[in-house]
């Protein structure tokens, strides 16, 4: 090696830390998603009470807990992280959320609607019907926020992270949107808890 080349090598900047590979949709999780959705369809088709209660309670519990935890615990922490730390966190966190949340939401809502039908809550003359409609409204608000703002931001962050040189400002903007919308859905989940506990209390 020539003296010039040696000098250049000595002063060369250290190689940037390798970023983890970004997989937008975790393909390994798809069979589990399919299994859950098939399970929900079977529970509906058979009017299987236990299956519907299981899907609704487990799904609803996970949905509420994840929304509250992400909205009030993880979200504010992400908001205070440096951009490289956000990138590191998002690379591992966002793909999982992309599969997890739509599956849990579909499972909870489909099973919940059937339970409401079985229990007569959908009947307009039922005294609890108003609470069921209130729960529809809460779900409607969450659906608009999640589908119009939160999920698109989630997917867009992953596409940005896949680029050879992600734009920090884009990630910052999209993560801010994610943190705010997660906070709003967290608040809506408090309303869900009130409505659901009121529904099953005689």
């Amino acid at each position: 090696m020539s003296a010039v080349a040696e000098a250049q090598a000595e002063h060369a900047a250290p190689a940037p830390a390798a970023r983890p590979q970004v997989q937008i949709v975790p393909v390994k999780g798809l069979p589990i998603v399919a299994l859950v959705l098939v399970g929900v369809v079977i529970a509906i088709a058979r009017d299987a009470r236990w299956g519907l209660v299981f899907c609704h309670v487990v799904g609803g519990g996970l949905w509420t807990a994840i929304d509250l935890f992400v909205g009030f615990v993880v979200g504010p922490i992400i908001g205070r992280m440096s951009i490289p730390a956000r990138i590191e966190f998002s690379t591992r966190f966002m793909p999982k959320m992309l599969l997890l949340m739509p599956t849990i939401v579909t499972m909870t809502l489909a099973a919940g609607f059937q339970l409401a039908r079985q229990d007569g809550f959908l009947d307009t003359s039922d005294p609890t019907h108003g609470w069921v409609v209130a729960s529809f409204c809460v779900v409607g608000v969450m659906a608009v926020i999640a589908l119009a703002y939160l999920e698109p931001a989630n997917v867009a962050v992953l596409f940005e992270l896949k680029k050879p040189e992600p734009d920090g400002r884009v990630i910052e903007k999209l993560m801010k949107r994610f943190v705010y919308t997660a906070g709003i859905t967290g608040v809506m989940q408090v309303a869900t808890l009130i409505i659901m506990t009121r529904l099953v209390s005689p």
Binding site: T124, V144, A156
Partner: protein
């Protein structure tokens, strides 16, 4: 990563039509329509109100489609890729909801209106996801 160094040519400041906002408004109309209809099940909600909501949701999506086709300098290949896969995912979700409606003996006009609302929902979400992704892609 170009944290702030590339701020001058960052796509954050790119000016594009309000596709997300209009899509969100359409989503609100769909949610209102579905809640209005579902809150009357298994009886029938007033058809006129349901159709009016459906028309508003469809009109907003039509405006979005017109705004999108007029876009130049847009990474259409990425848009189609993201919209296509999202459409597949939301077709499965919409299919499950439709199955539940049919299973619960929803019939006639009520089923037609709910199916059309589900179709609008199924088309709207992929557009919103694909637009948000593509607005930050270089052509």
């Amino acid at each position: 990563m170009s944290a702030h160094a590339g701020a001058a040519d960052s796509l954050v400041d790119r000016k594009l039509p309000p596709v997300t906002e209009i899509g969100a408004a359409s989503m609100i109309a769909i949610a209102v329509g579905l809640i209005y209809n579902a809150s009357y099940l298994p009886k029938h909600a007033q058809t006129g109100v349901a159709v009016a909501i459906l028309v508003v949701a469809a009109a907003l999506q039509l405006v979005n489609a017109l705004l999108l086709v007029r876009l130049r300098e847009f990474a259409w290949a990425r848009f189609r890729q993201v919209a296509g896969w999202s459409l597949l995912a939301y077709a499965v979700i919409a299919g499950m909801i439709e199955y539940a409606f049919v299973y619960d003996h929803t019939r006639g006009t009520q089923l037609v209106i709910l199916t059309l609302m589900l179709a609008l929902f199924m088309l709207n979400v992929p557009v919103l996801i694909a637009f948000t992704v593509t607005r930050y892609q270089r052509v």
